[in-house]
C-alpha cells in the first residue's frame, strides 16, 4: 500500500489536485496573514500601517508577555510529561489486561473526550476552589496556579495518550514479552527492555500532542488560571477583548517557528529510530487496525 504510482491525467485527477491545493491555501491563509501582520508598524494588529521590525523588539522586551509564554511552556511540559507517563501505563494495561476494569476505564476515557471543554472548565474551577490545599492560595509549598494548569490540562491529554498507546500495544505481538518472561526477565526489566522501546513512538506522539493541546488550551485555562500565572492563550484572549497589538502576532510567529523547528528535529529522530509516526492519526481514526 505504500508504493507510489504514476498519476493519470484525467478530469477527476485534475479536479482532486486542484482541490488539494485549494485546501492548503485555505489552511495557510490566516497563518500567512498573521505572519505578515506581525511586521505591522501600526498600533493595532488588524490595521496595516507599513512594514516594521518594532513589534518583534517590543514583544521580546515585554515582561508580561514573556512571563505568560514561560507559564504556558511550564504548564505544557508538566502536563504533557504527567499525561505521557500515567497515560502510557494505563494504555498498556488496558490493551494487555482486557476485562471489566479495562472496559469501565475506557468508558471514562470516552466520557472525558466527549464532554465539552466549557463543562470541564467550570467543574474544575469549583473543584479547585473547594479542595484548596495545593490548588488554593493558602499553601506555602507549591505554585498553585501552575498546579491547577498541570492537572486541568492533564485530564484530556491523559485520555488521548491512553488511546494512542492502547492502539499501538493492541497492534503489537505479545510473544516478545512472553519470550522475555520465559527467559526469566523480571516484570520491571521486561517492561523497560521490551515493552517500553516498542511503544516509545506512541508515547512520543502522545507527549507532543498533549504538549500542543496544553499550549493552545484557552477555555479551561481561562477558568482555572490565577493572576501571576496567566498562560499565553489567556493573555491573548484578554487582548482580543481589549486592544490587539501587533506584538501578539510577532510573539506567535516566533513560537510557531520554534515549534516547527523542534518538531522537525523530533521527526528526524523518530525516523532515524525506525519508529512510525502515524500513531497519532491511527488513534484518531479509532484505534487498532
Amino acid at each position: 500500500m505504500s508504493r507510489g504510482r504514476p498519476t493519470p491525467t484525467d478530469g477527476v485527477s485534475i479536479g482532486l489536485w486542484t482541490w488539494g491545493i485549494i485546501v492548503f491555501i485555505f489552511l495557510f491563509a490566516p497563518i500567512i496573514t498573521i505572519v505578515v501582520y506581525s511586521f505591522n508598524a501600526g498600533r493595532t494588529l488588524v490595521v496595516w500601517d507599513g512594514f516594521s521590525l518594532d513589534p518583534y523588539v517590543r514583544a521580546m522586551a515585554d515582561p508580561t508577555m514573556a512571563s505568560s509564554v514561560l507559564t504556558s511552556i511550564k504548564a505544557a511540559l508538566g502536563s504533557a510529561a504527567f499525561a505521557a507517563v500515567i497515560g502510557t501505563l494505563a494504555g498498556i494495561a488496558a490493551a494487555r489486561r482486557p476485562g471489566k476494569w479495562a472496559a469501565v476505564f475506557l468508558v471514562v476515557v470516552t466520557l472525558v473526550l466527549i464532554t465539552p471543554e466549557i463543562v470541564d472548565a467550570i467543574a474544575l474551577l469549583i473543584w479547585f476552589v473547594r479542595m484548596g490545599g495545593p490548588f488554593g492560595p493558602d499553601n506555602q509549598f507549591v505554585d498553585y496556579g501552575l498546579m491547577r494548569l498541570w492537572f486541568g490540562h492533564a485530564i484530556f491529554s491523559t485520555a488521548v495518550v491512553v488511546l494512542i498507546v492502547r492502539a499501538r500495544v493492541s497492534g503489537m505481538d505479545e510473544s516478545l514479552e512472553e519470550a522475555a518472561a520465559d527467559l526469566y526477565a523480571p516484570p520491571w526489566r521486561r517492561f523497560r527492555q521490551i515493552t517500553l522501546p516498542l511503544v516509545f513512538p506512541a508515547v512520543m506522539v502522545g507527549f507532543l500532542l498533549s504538549f500542543s493541546l496544553s499550549l493552545d488550551n484557552t477555555i479551561i485555562s481561562s477558568f482555572v488560571s490565577v493572576a501571576g500565572s496567566t498562560p499565553w492563550p489567556v493573555y491573548v484572549f484578554s487582548a482580543v477583548r481589549g486592544t490587539l497589538r501587533p506584538e501578539l502576532a510577532s510573539m506567535s510567529t516566533v513560537m510557531l517557528l520554534l515549534t516547527v523547528l523542534s518538531l522537525a528535529a523530533v521527526g528526524f529522530v523518530l525516523r532515524r529510530g525506525g519508529g512510525s509516526s502515524s500513531e497519532l492519526t491511527q488513534a484518531l481514526a479509532g484505534g487498532k487496525q
Binding site: 465539552p116 492563550p233 506567535s252 518538531l263
Partner: protein, 290 residues
C-alpha cells in the same frame, strides 16, 4: 490493571468527581446576591429555567452551526484526504500530512483573528476580489453567520482530515480494482466500495468535529460578534457574570445531554440507512452453500 491506577485516580478525582458536583449543584439554587450556590433545598427548578426560550434558541443556533460545520468539514476533507492518500506519491505523504498540522501550532485565537483580517471589508481578500471584478462592493461577511461558519470549519477541518486520511490510506487498492474489473464505473466504485469502507473514518471525523464544536463559543465570539451566541457562552456567563452556579450547572448538564442525544440520533439514523441499503442490495449467489 494496577498500572492504570494513577490515570484512574486522576480521571476520577479531577473529572468524575467534579462533574458529579456539577450534577449535584444543578439541583441547588442561588441563595442571594453575594452567594453562588445553595444546596440545602434540592429541586428540578433550575432545569425549568435552563430550558427557557433563550437557551432553546441559542442551542438551536449552535446545533445548526455545528451540523452545517461538520457537513462542510466532511465535504472539504473527504476529497482532500482521498487526494493525499491516493494521488500523492507515497514518499511525500507524511511530509504533506505534517504540513497540514502546522496551523495547529499557531495559537487558535490568532488564527481566528487572521480570518478577521482576511474577511474584513478593507482586507486583502475583499480588495483582490474587487479588483478582479468578482464583487463590486467591499466584502461584508465579518460578524455574520457566514464568517462564524468559515471560522469553525477552519478550526476543526484538521480533525476531519486525519481520520479520513488514515482509513483511505490503508484501504487495499485491489478492492477498487476488483470493483472495476467487475464492470463498475468510477462513481459506482466510489459509492459502493470506497465510501462504505471509509465509514469508520467518516464517523470518527464527524464526532471529533461535532462534539468540540458544540461546546466552542470563542471562535463564534471573535468572528460573529453579537450575532452569534453559542450554547457554551450561556454556561460560561452563568459562572463568570451572573455567579449563578446552580443555573450554570443545569445548563451544562442540559448541554451534555443534548450533545449525546444528537450523536445517538445520528448514529441510529446511520444504522437504519445502512440496514436498508444492505437489505436492498443483498446478493444471493446461485449455488452458494451458505
Amino acid at each position: 490493571m494496577i498500572p492504570a491506577l494513577p490515570a484512574g485516580l486522576l480521571l476520577t478525582g479531577f473529572f468524575l468527581v467534579p462533574i458529579g458536583f456539577i450534577i449535584f449543584y444543578s439541583f441547588g439554587y442561588k441563595p442571594g446576591l453575594l452567594s453562588s450556590i445553595g444546596v440545602d433545598r434540592l429541586s428540578l427548578d433550575r432545569y425549568g429555567e435552563a430550558l427557557n426560550d433563550t437557551f432553546l434558541l441559542t442551542f438551536g443556533n449552535t446545533l445548526q452551526i455545528a451540523l452545517l460545520g461538520t457537513a462542510l468539514c466532511l465535504f472539504i476533507a473527504y476529497p482532500f484526504a482521498y487526494w493525499l492518500s491516493h494521488h500523492v506519491a507515497s514518499r511525500y505523504r507524511s511530509t504533506l500530512l505534517a504540513v497540514v498540522l502546522v496551523p495547529l501550532w499557531t495559537n487558535f485565537l490568532l488564527r481566528t483573528i487572521g480570518w478577521q483580517i482576511i474577511l474584513s471589508g478593507d482586507g486583502w481578500l475583499s480588495k483582490a476580489l474587487m479588483s478582479a471584478g468578482i464583487i463590486h462592493q467591499p466584502l461584508n461577511i465579518l460578524f455574520t453567520r457566514d464568517a462564524v461558519e468559515i471560522g469553525v470549519v477552519y478550526n476543526y477541518l484538521i480533525f476531519m482530515i486525519l481520520p479520513l486520511y488514515v482509513v483511505l490510506e490503508r484501504m487495499d487498492p485491489s478492492l477498487r480494482q476488483a470493483s472495476r474489473d467487475l464492470g463498475a464505473g468510477r462513481l459506482r466504485t466510489f459509492l459502493q466500495v470506497t465510501f462504505p469502507l471509509s465509514m469508520p473514518g467518516v464517523v470518527a471525523g464527524c464526532l471529533l468535529v461535532f462534539v468540540p464544536l458544540c461546546g466552542d463559543y470563542i471562535t463564534a465570539s471573535i468572528l460573529g460578534g453579537a450575532s452569534a451566541n453559542m450554547a457554551g457562552q450561556l454556561v460560561a456567563a452563568q459562572f463568570l457574570m451572573a455567579q449563578n452556579w446552580a443555573l450554570g450547572s443545569a445548563t451544562a448538564v442540559v448541554l451534555i445531554i443534548a450533545i449525546i442525544m444528537t450523536v445517538l440520533a445520528a448514529g441510529a439514523g446511520l444504522a437504519i440507512v445502512t440496514a436498508v441499503l444492505r437489505a436492498h442490495r443483498s446478493v444471493t449467489l446461485p449455488g452458494a452453500v451458505n
